[in-house]
Subunit: 639 residues, 2 copies
């Protein structure tokens, strides 16, 4: 029988036969990655599991988020991660080496391999045919401990690309187009598999831009076939041996189909404040711009930056614009130094910042008050930039460079001839020696902890009845940035749960923490797509610390739902969406936990609204996890 | 009569004949510079003076301190500075272009010109023969408004250099040697004028390292002659026309003399926590190192970084070390990109950060807890790194690179052959076009203010009697970092006096602010050299906001004393140092202001200690300023 690419890779990694869509499938993970913002907790959890050595073929611990190191907390965390990697057998990538997804693509990602990462943009590696998923830190820790990773069997969407990109359209515009078409919840429970004649026209970094931002669709992952483009990319990286041809079988079946005519695409932008709020760049002509930022795991490859440099050649950043570049890796920056692109960028007035996530994760480069900021990133959630009233637009590097020169959006029809497509040099400078590869034996390595690294909190099991107060009611598309804000000051507390919990919902509701504490046991009520965005498990862990035991929403984002389970919070959805309006903040909710059936429906008692029908999509195992009070409690009996 | 170089330049800029040492001399300022951390306040003050246009030949507003832009405050300040510069006729240097002193040396500093800057390391320009002084922002604003700058006529120390640097010794070791010899208060009231056969062996960037860190001696400024080295440097920068020969006359007289035999110098380090706590690098052999940081206005020139790259060539940063480089300017970084040095640094594992002050001013790169940090900076005050219990050593770039490779201090005797001396290329890439040069006419420019920019506070005049409580008693060598800490979070509040005042003495005495507020009117009591360090006027302004009207110390640092006067605080010193011990915290102090004679002594009533003799070195004008409540009150009647 003909298989699509997803089916092929999942079949090769499943502990059983492929189930129907939506049913759980347990997958063997070949590779794992962590980054520092989620990784400190993930490695504390791995340590708590008591497994002496990482069991995946490869695990890499990257430091790319909190690289500013404001005070002792971040550098202490980095030292903890370095020593934990040496102890447990992971590769360590020090701060400033680059952004995890760009580095992983260059150095480790393999066609056909499964990858789990404690970062929502882990699907970047799908650009080279790796089946790569973002997950909470605990899920990654469990995978590194050798446990299979369980997901609902995804539906597979075939995205057929025809034609080739023309003029100033670029890979970013393909994924922005898809986001405009399908919305930020259009990919939930799905894999986007790219196919068709347009695929061969896209380089691996272009493909990675698309799979990276597939995360914004809410997708499980996105996947390109492994072909001649993939072979060339791996060969240039000195990894020809990691290549294998991989494609869907002729005549394979798909759950859904989308076709995109690349010839017809034009430069697009995601307008404030959602990545699916997509408009043409032409429609924004005349809008003045205060800031331009080029970089992030979406668009910080050599080709991205070299093309931006080509646009800046002979020109200069407009006086009103503060423009910066964060290269994706030291290899990228070294290539730009060697080909003259860096000098062009410097002489154009671009600021050259560290090879790191930078402004995308709120590490500086906030816009001016009420400013218009144009970024090549993947998220433009309100306030994520660090400036609450700023307006962030997401665009390609080509568009960003044009806007930087002109100080405003203009119609691409007037931009003249676009720069030539950029390929990797035949032998890019290698930076592989900068990774700390672990010794065969790590048991003698002492793990160094700073005073900010607080021991893990073990939570109480669930009682037979949950009586809880509604501590907040929220609308649709609440992101993990709303729940647990990032930025240098708050993210520095990621290994200190009591301290970071003081900031839960801090940017949207200053009274939340006090209310949750007063309630003792709490319920969060939300609309559609609750918990979209990053994989940060602190968006579940910190509310749990504050007593939240139930989330009741119209729908839930995949990674966040898994994080709720991992920390013992019941993820309910409404059977009837209209009931959402009946639940008021402050109402008491009573859940008879003994009556809960995994995958079933039940009635809960809501003060002022009577009985309301709720459902869960928990597996029996997941329900056991919640009853135990969370995965750490549960799993210690399993390993 | 034979004149030394100081006398020549001062005579050419004095409004009268040269007075005796210690007597006030009013000097015409040719150039002025501000940086963003002190500059927002300085430009608000300039605006308040009501002068439509800068009256110095040149004024440059640099953004180099708060370049991280965590939240809207910094970018709003930068926009304010950009628009204020355009309005008032200053050159504007955007964030990321480089560090003010490096950029000023490359682009604007002139032999024989006077320069006033709102940064204590303004004497860097003395490396090319400019008479350059650090001052509080208000003093700079007044100079830009055309007022002469009044200083006590300095004593002049002739520093005779013989021989030439050998082996791994470098310019940094010359100034460290002098600091070890003379201490951080050894230069108060003095100009250090370099002379002798060793001068010709030093390039302008090497000289600038020495004059820069002359600030740590407490000196008024430091000065090199303008000779063939200066001519070559200016010619390479396309500024041959700015050169003129300048040297002391044969047989000129000096107040003091010091001779340094360059042949005998070896690599030195300033050990924690003072720049004058100087030891040999050899004596530190075996001390493990956690962090290395190369950069700052002291040592971020092309030669500094190219030599560091040469040391790293073929080697790698040790696993335990977090090592970073902040280039001094985009010109420096562009040269490193062109000569291959940047790729060497990247491939050695060095982190490449922005062309900015960076960690030196507390913008990230804090060391690990209890860490040993080795820095090419100019200050190692306790806590300044952002990690309270870190130990910071100040060294040359050559030493820093060696330490980075080895992960510990080692004896320079084992370092082999040092890299060759590095000269500027004949035609370095120019970045002059990145400055925003003002139009002839700026009255139409609208100055843009963010919500963090709070209007200036006008203070009340001094009463006939001051009754005040001692709100803190302090030891010797209290720095402006102790008084008004820096770091990204606090420095972001520099244009918001009420907000930043909450942090006064925050790192040494958490109860200070509440005590000062409760006291209403306060006295600060301190030991020797109170207020050493940076030029930040917030170290006077914020205590004044909290009610401080008197400082009583054994001795006062020059710039801080001027800042106290500018904001209406009486700077008393003890006539008898032994009285210091008699004044207790909480004691009431009564000063009969009507009885104060400028430059005289008087008795003040101290609760529990009786009458204590104090003196002041105020000029009659300065006393008028204090009585008026500060310079802004006073000067509005003068202009």
């Amino acid at each position: 029988m003909a298989h699509n690419l997803t089916q092929k890779i999942l079949a090769a990694h499943s502990t059983g036969p492929l189930p129907a869509a939506g049913e759980p499938i347990a997958l063997r993970m070949d590779q794992a990655l962590t980054q520092d913002a989620t990784g400190t907790m993930a490695w504390l959890q791995f340590e708590a599991l008591g497994v002496p050595r990482v069991k995946t073929d490869l695990a890499v611990s990257y430091v790319d988020h909190n690289t500013l190191q404001m005070g002792f907390r971040n550098p202490d965390d980095h030292r903890f991660l370095r020593t934990a990697a040496a102890r447990f057998g992971a590769v360590f990538s020090p701060a400033g080496t680059g952004i995890c997804h760009q580095l992983h693509l260059e150095n480790f990602a393999k066609p056909g391999a499964t990858l789990i990462g404690s970062d929502s943009h882990t699907p970047t590696a799908g650009g080279i045919g790796s089946f790569a998923m973002g997950a909470g830190g605990l899920s990654v820790a469990l995978a590194m401990a050798g446990q299979p990773y369980v997901i609902p069997m995804p539906k597979v969407v075939r995205v057929t690309l025809t034609g080739s990109l023309q003029g100033w359209a670029s890979a970013k515009d393909i994924i922005l187009h898809l986001l405009g078409l399908l919305s930020v919840k259009g990919g939930v429970g799905k894999v986007f598999e790219y196919a068709g004649p347009g695929v061969a026209t896209l380089t691996v970094p272009e493909r990675a831009t698309i799979t990276n931002m597939g995360a914004e669709l809410g997708a499980t992952t996105s996947l390109f076939p492994s072909d001649e483009q993939a072979r060339q990319f791996l060969a240039a990286q000195g990894r020809a041996g990691d290549w294998q041809a991989l494609a869907a079988d002729e005549g394979a079946a798909y759950d859904e189909e989308v076709t995109i005519d690349l010839n017809a695409l034009q430069p697009l932008a995601a307008a404030p404040h959602m990545p699916d709020n997509v408009v043409t760049v032409a429609s924004l002509a005349g809008l003045g711009v205060d800031q331009v930022a080029i970089g992030s795991c979406t668009n910080s490859s050599y080709a991205d930056l070299a093309q931006a440099a080509a646009v800046m050649q002979g020109g200069q950043v407009a006086a009103r614009v503060d423009a910066s570049v964060n290269p994706g890796s030291k290899q990228v920056l070294a290539m730009l130094a060697q080909d003259g692109g860096l000098v062009t960028l410097l002489q154009s007035g671009m600021r050259v910042l560290e090879c790191a996530c930078g402004a995308c994760i709120g590490m500086g480069a906030s816009p001016v008050s009420q400013g218009v900021s144009v970024r090549t990133f993947n998220r433009n959630f309100e306030g994520r930039s660090g400036t609450k009233d700023a307006n962030v637009y997401l665009v390609s590097p080509l568009t960003a460079a044009q806007v930087a020169r002109q100080g405003q959006f203009t119609d691409p029809a007037g931009w003249g001839t676009p720069p030539a497509k950029v390929s990797l040099p035949a032998t890019p400078p290698s930076i592989r020696h900068l990774f700390h590869f672990p010794s065969q034996e790590g048991s003698g390595v002492e793990i160094t902890r700073g005073p900010n690294i607080v021991a893990l909190e073990m939570f109480a099991p669930l009682g037979q009845t949950v009586e809880a107060k509604v501590v907040i009611t929220l609308g649709d598309n609440i992101t993990t940035d709303h729940i647990m804000p990032a930025g240098a000051e708050i993210t520095a507390l990621r290994s200190n749960l009591p301290a970071i919990s003081e900031h839960v919902f801090g940017r949207v509701d200053a009274g939340f923490v006090a209310r949750a504490r007063a309630a003792g046991v709490g319920v969060i009520v939300a609309g559609e797509n609750y918990g979209q965005g990053s994989s940060r498990e602190h968006a579940a862990l910190a509310p749990r610390h504050l007593g939240v035991r139930v989330v009741l929403a119209k729908s839930l984002a995949r990674i966040h739902r898994a994080n709720l389970v991992n920390f013992g919070i019941i993820p309910f959805t409404f059977v009837y969406a209209a009931d959402y309006a009946k639940v008021a903040e402050g109402a008491m909710v009573k859940v008879n936990a003994q009556a809960l059936v995994p995958g079933g429906e039940m009635l809960v008692e809501v003060q002022g609204a009577g009985q309301i029908a709720v459902k869960n999509d928990l597996s029996p195992d997941e329900w056991a996890v919640i009853r135990a009070g969370g995965f750490l409690n549960h799993v210690k009996t399993m390993l």
